[in-house]
Subunit: 319 residues, 6 copies
Amino acid sequence: MELETKKISHLQVGDRVDCFLIIKRVDLKTTNSNDKKYLDFIFGDKTGEISAKLWEVPAAMEEMFSPGDLIKVRGTVTSYMNNNQFKVDRIRLAQEDDDVRAEEFVETAPMENTDMLRQILNYLQQIKDIDIHQVVKVALEEKQAEIMYYPAAKSNHHAVRSGLLFHVLTMLKLGENISKIYPQVNTDLLYAGIILHDLEKINEMDASELGIVKEYTVEGNLLGHITMGIKNLEKICDKLGTPNEKKMLLQHMLLSHHYEAEYGSPKKPLFLEAELLHHIDMIDARVYDFTNVTKDLEKGTFSESIFSLDRRRIYKPNL
Amino acid sequence: MELETKKISHLQVGDRVDCFLIIKRVDLKTTNSNDKKYLDFIFGDKTGEISAKLWEVPAAMEEMFSPGDLIKVRGTVTSYMNNNQFKVDRIRLAQEDDDVRAEEFVETAPMENTDMLRQILNYLQQIKDIDIHQVVKVALEEKQAEIMYYPAAKSNHHAVRSGLLFHVLTMLKLGENISKIYPQVNTDLLYAGIILHDLEKINEMDASELGIVKEYTVEGNLLGHITMGIKNLEKICDKLGTPNEKKMLLQHMLLSHHYEAEYGSPKKPLFLEAELLHHIDMIDARVYDFTNVTKDLEKGTFSESIFSLDRRRIYKPNL
Amino acid sequence: MELETKKISHLQVGDRVDCFLIIKRVDLKTTNSNDKKYLDFIFGDKTGEISAKLWEVPAAMEEMFSPGDLIKVRGTVTSYMNNNQFKVDRIRLAQEDDDVRAEEFVETAPMENTDMLRQILNYLQQIKDIDIHQVVKVALEEKQAEIMYYPAAKSNHHAVRSGLLFHVLTMLKLGENISKIYPQVNTDLLYAGIILHDLEKINEMDASELGIVKEYTVEGNLLGHITMGIKNLEKICDKLGTPNEKKMLLQHMLLSHHYEAEYGSPKKPLFLEAELLHHIDMIDARVYDFTNVTKDLEKGTFSESIFSLDRRRIYKPNL
Amino acid sequence: MELETKKISHLQVGDRVDCFLIIKRVDLKTTNSNDKKYLDFIFGDKTGEISAKLWEVPAAMEEMFSPGDLIKVRGTVTSYMNNNQFKVDRIRLAQEDDDVRAEEFVETAPMENTDMLRQILNYLQQIKDIDIHQVVKVALEEKQAEIMYYPAAKSNHHAVRSGLLFHVLTMLKLGENISKIYPQVNTDLLYAGIILHDLEKINEMDASELGIVKEYTVEGNLLGHITMGIKNLEKICDKLGTPNEKKMLLQHMLLSHHYEAEYGSPKKPLFLEAELLHHIDMIDARVYDFTNVTKDLEKGTFSESIFSLDRRRIYKPNL
Amino acid sequence: MELETKKISHLQVGDRVDCFLIIKRVDLKTTNSNDKKYLDFIFGDKTGEISAKLWEVPAAMEEMFSPGDLIKVRGTVTSYMNNNQFKVDRIRLAQEDDDVRAEEFVETAPMENTDMLRQILNYLQQIKDIDIHQVVKVALEEKQAEIMYYPAAKSNHHAVRSGLLFHVLTMLKLGENISKIYPQVNTDLLYAGIILHDLEKINEMDASELGIVKEYTVEGNLLGHITMGIKNLEKICDKLGTPNEKKMLLQHMLLSHHYEAEYGSPKKPLFLEAELLHHIDMIDARVYDFTNVTKDLEKGTFSESIFSLDRRRIYKPNL
Amino acid sequence: MELETKKISHLQVGDRVDCFLIIKRVDLKTTNSNDKKYLDFIFGDKTGEISAKLWEVPAAMEEMFSPGDLIKVRGTVTSYMNNNQFKVDRIRLAQEDDDVRAEEFVETAPMENTDMLRQILNYLQQIKDIDIHQVVKVALEEKQAEIMYYPAAKSNHHAVRSGLLFHVLTMLKLGENISKIYPQVNTDLLYAGIILHDLEKINEMDASELGIVKEYTVEGNLLGHITMGIKNLEKICDKLGTPNEKKMLLQHMLLSHHYEAEYGSPKKPLFLEAELLHHIDMIDARVYDFTNVTKDLEKGTFSESIFSLDRRRIYKPNL
């Protein structure tokens, strides 16, 4: 069988391939029955992930690979526990003259990050209240480097490179379109709430420039991005001299945007824009997940049970 | 003190008034301490409701009044348990030469019902799938009389004359605006789901042409509007020969649109348009309630605890 | 060691056997460490199931077997993760001159299906109300083929060939015996509810004539047997011209028979016969499960933790 | 208007009556506005209860009445808060020469208590296991006086004179009829469980010989009838030398018969007879409540919301 | 009957009294039946509260009284809905020459506030970590005026003058005594957590110098004292340059001290001292409530159902 | 590589060791791919547990080992599924001349059991009420043998040899130190409750003299230690003639000490000492678990997710 270059989502049992991939996880392990060492990988590219094994590890290779490395790999696709698995025959780090860039092998939001940022700044311009405008501007500037590549989550919706920018931008568009129908909505508050609501995920999770989250930070675990966001607003507003009412409204929007106590919001939304922020967040998360889950699904069939959608199996209508 | 003509929401303790009102409830009762009969009313107009008493009832008046009657009433505003109460001095049924129409004394949606229906039919025109189009068209035509005046609920959001039309129309606008951002949305399904989702409330509740719900019907209590809607689609599709897949998708949208089992949906939404239908329904209900609750509230203060909003006290930002 | 013919429930580690079995599941897989293909089976007979492996698969055999096939198999019983496992040495499809019938190798209700049906029709005869009688009669006739072999569930109680018939018949007997104590019970309603309550499981699940459920149907997943049953009654009653009150009562019985919202009933039972239907359903399910779980248990010991019984470990009294 | 003798359930606003009734509660109170004392009663008879007031209380009457007293009363039926109320004109204690018995004015089980006890002892005779037989016999004998008149509850199902006997007897009949269908049921265990399950309600609640519960006892509040029943079995079995296995099985039946932790059972039923005991208890409670709630209801209408039935409004089918 | 001076907890129906009391609430109302105005009060003293009415209000008195006023009042104790009520005959504001102080008429913690503060500062001295010591010192100094008189709650445990000081001091003693048994406890963290945990209740609730809470503040409603406390620590630590780890630990203790999400803690305690803080808070609250509820109870009897103790009725052992 | 003697908690992948260990579990199994038998062990010592395999089992060794055996074992530490695993090269039972005692290889409470018992008896001496004193004394004497070595749980807190003694003693110290702050506490009741609360765990679980729990007893499964404890008090008090009030109070303390229905307490604590018993139990359990979980953790890091702490990952502060 010929060697092929294929994307992960197209691999089938029996394929023999030779391609560039990203290492997302790597562990050195020992086999059960005969004490031999092997490398246990998860590889990824723009289209998905696959578990992989290198069964005979030369001593020199034991410590060669790390998560985030771009590698060239040759091997065969097998099946294990009903999932595809990659049996590695050869593997090496990508070299300069391979002329490939790691960014091309990670899942990324479907728009350029610079373009997304520009559009978000456009919305910022529409915040007329000078105090609120200033607070949002400073908060965005503090994160200007990381926001370009951070995902919006470790493993749920928008868990891709620049996913946070994409999530925020789409929510702003939703906010704009919904506000057209309800003129009573204060778009200053709503746009500010949207831009600020997840910003501290940047300090809650530790992600590489490829948008891959390694782990939650200590502060992320002890406090969480909602509390961290409120703390950060406290410091920014303290410096800017933001009037207390406005600071409080923004902090309440952050505090309440998960809606239910068991999802991390000790207060439910108490004014209209806080209420809308939650629903807009939900809609964008759910549209992302439903779209993602069904994109490779055959019409008239159901997906696997999806943990982040309350274990529902999603259907692709046969229309 | 002069007699005044005031709207209910403007009444204050001590006011002496003379005005036309609608009877929303009336009971003949006997006082505790001295066996005297009195009439216990709830009056309403476009701006709200007030409890009222007629303390000395001439025998001829004992059976004179019914809910929905338009009456002319004179009396004083007192306070009972921290709420306003109306002490009736004189009361009579409105007469032809009073030249007033009951419609002017009930809360009504803020658009003309004929205009709303026209816009809804416009959305119907945009449903390109001929089968789905037909089903929705027939379902709407069946209810063409009642939909002009039915409220969307007995006491929650959109519980006003023509409230159901208004709720459906606003949801269609939301559906349209949200779909612009997500081109993957099938607007045929979404618009159909929106128009159909609450139609059987017309048979679940028994309402007068003033849009006042007297009670739930027996079928409403035993089955509920979700199950009744599915049954009705079953008959319509049976007659039209609608393909099974399309019938099933529409029925699933009805079945799942309350989302949680404890709110009446035995299945959670399993495709994108069903998921969106729920969120659009929520947004329109919540915007209605938040707006309604805060409309007479002073800035910087909280409303009473609102039962339909999980007992939250809603805040009016001081901006 | 001699070759034996044993039933699955009697197999012990170390047994070498040669017997006929049914294939309940089969997958072609590849071993982890050496790329060799093997067949991963679940075999079954009247007494239970066992996992099995064929480690060296001739190419000709790779696609030879399907679920539901009756096969002749020789091999050894080993232990894996504390469960018995079957290591296949030889395997072939049963042939005509083996003179064995697949029906003899699947778990089946303990009465003849024709006999059960006859008894159910006897109960049908006792429904005196002509409208209700007609509805039940038509509903049963529509399913007259499938009801002979359908199980009552995929993996819970009565998940055996003709299990649905057996469940319905036993419930009818319960209904009769309970009604003797409470003369206020309307047995027309109760018997009708019992016969109808699970009929649409036949369209909710896709089962073979051996009573083995392959999967849930699309409609089963999107709507569920309760909603499907109500729809079906709607059509039958529409055709028969059943009075609305009677149709509604039957539909309410279906709607409420799971009792709790989280088990699929949006309404709790609102009249006596609907309430009884639920309890009778529960008793028959629970007696089945308790009896099944303890049938091979030693006195004075506990079963494994049983998922369908809230993870209880059932005890067999030492009397 | 003529004076009438009517049963409480037949009273209508405006009736003037003269009849014997039982005092179920009495409090001396003072009016709000003029410091006058009045007596606030609840009266009862075989058919129900009514609230009553005596507005001008002679000093001599202030302490004359107690709960359980049989009185002769004359007065008028008025309406207060949509309920009937009794305005007392004259009242006195019943005297010997009135020739009326208090028993005739309290709700009572529909069978003679001696007859019910006889039938229960018949079931006791059918318990063949000598140890279990002895335990149940002793437990019954200990309560032989109180069981003749105790109700089964303070305000829920079977809250009438001799209600406990009636509940136990009906459950035994259910147990017998259900066991005919499932021969695997051990009727020794089941009958014993039924007879024993609520016996300690006699010590949990303090009831008069009229079957009226005054209050829960201290031990009832601190431990509850389930724990008290287990304690009592411990002492009885200790004295009789009952084998440990049998004692444990009976105690587990008591412990688990409320099924859910939040209803007082720390363990769910772990063998078949314990499981059945719960369902039989439920059926008899529910049939009692549904029957009671609908007995005076018009066909085709709903009852009030019933607290003990999860606030359901029960329907009386229009058949 | 003689006029008496009695404390509220000793009043009995029929008493005629003349005494000083505090007004806790006052409303001008109009009677139902005859349009007369009356004043509806709640009076209080060190021993409890009583509802009161002044039935004939001279015009001059209509606006004379406010919550917190100390008044001299004469009247009679009547009974209304099973509770004592005070019928006012005469009432006037206390005057200088009455020589009474309002403080003597409000419930107060059982220690001098200066003494409690001194002991708390002693514990502060035992915090050896200089960073943590500084943070706690500054936080306490910011509130040095209000902490002298603030209660710990509006209506639950320690809802008395200086109740917050008393609650904190008792918790510190508990913390000290528990830490003696577990030497692994870091008392710097534990004492800091105890002193800081409820400090922002001072800004969450608006209380007078008598320790009477009028209402929750806007910020209290929108954010709550947990979030407000974290914000305040953020600012204090920012100014002091507190190392991040220490700030985070203190903030996590505040965030998690209500333990359950539904009680306001989005994170459960993740280190030992945070875990202990919660349990120490619970113990002090519960001992306060149990002691308070049973203090006037007779031995061997139960209290009323107590809302803040999950509606339990508390027992006073008969020892 | 040299052979070493190491404690389990110090083992690292690649170590070759030779040491004494305790067998905690042993199963004879057969490999999947080649039918070879192997022994699957769990070994333990004072510092923890490790899974182990003996791949080639001589026939003579197949039945040689049992849980609780002390063995001498030589082998290598490998890695399986991210956990250490022990590959056994040689194994034999410890012999007399090895001069090692099994007690030295099981986790044990950090104090001598005789010393702990002596201190507990000291607390018993402080129970002044003669009736309560007697009850506790008898209950302790009944268990005097088993209490010396029983653990307090199968796998949660204090699941070590003599863990029950240690748990009770530490709770008594807590009870004493807390009571110093609240003089209203009746220490007779509190100490009695503490000593008695878990005593019947000795009959609920079947543990060896090494403090290793093999399984729950039948009675433990059917009734649980709370109900068993109440039964035992019933018998003791019956013999001693303990006054009913005291017996009831002690039984209520046992009944309510798990606090929540879903954790096994059908009643919540209804007097102060019962309430305190629960919190003292919680504190000691939680301090044990937090300490245990973090003892080998690096500062500034989180533990694994801990099942018994609601799956929290515990943090070790970096101070």
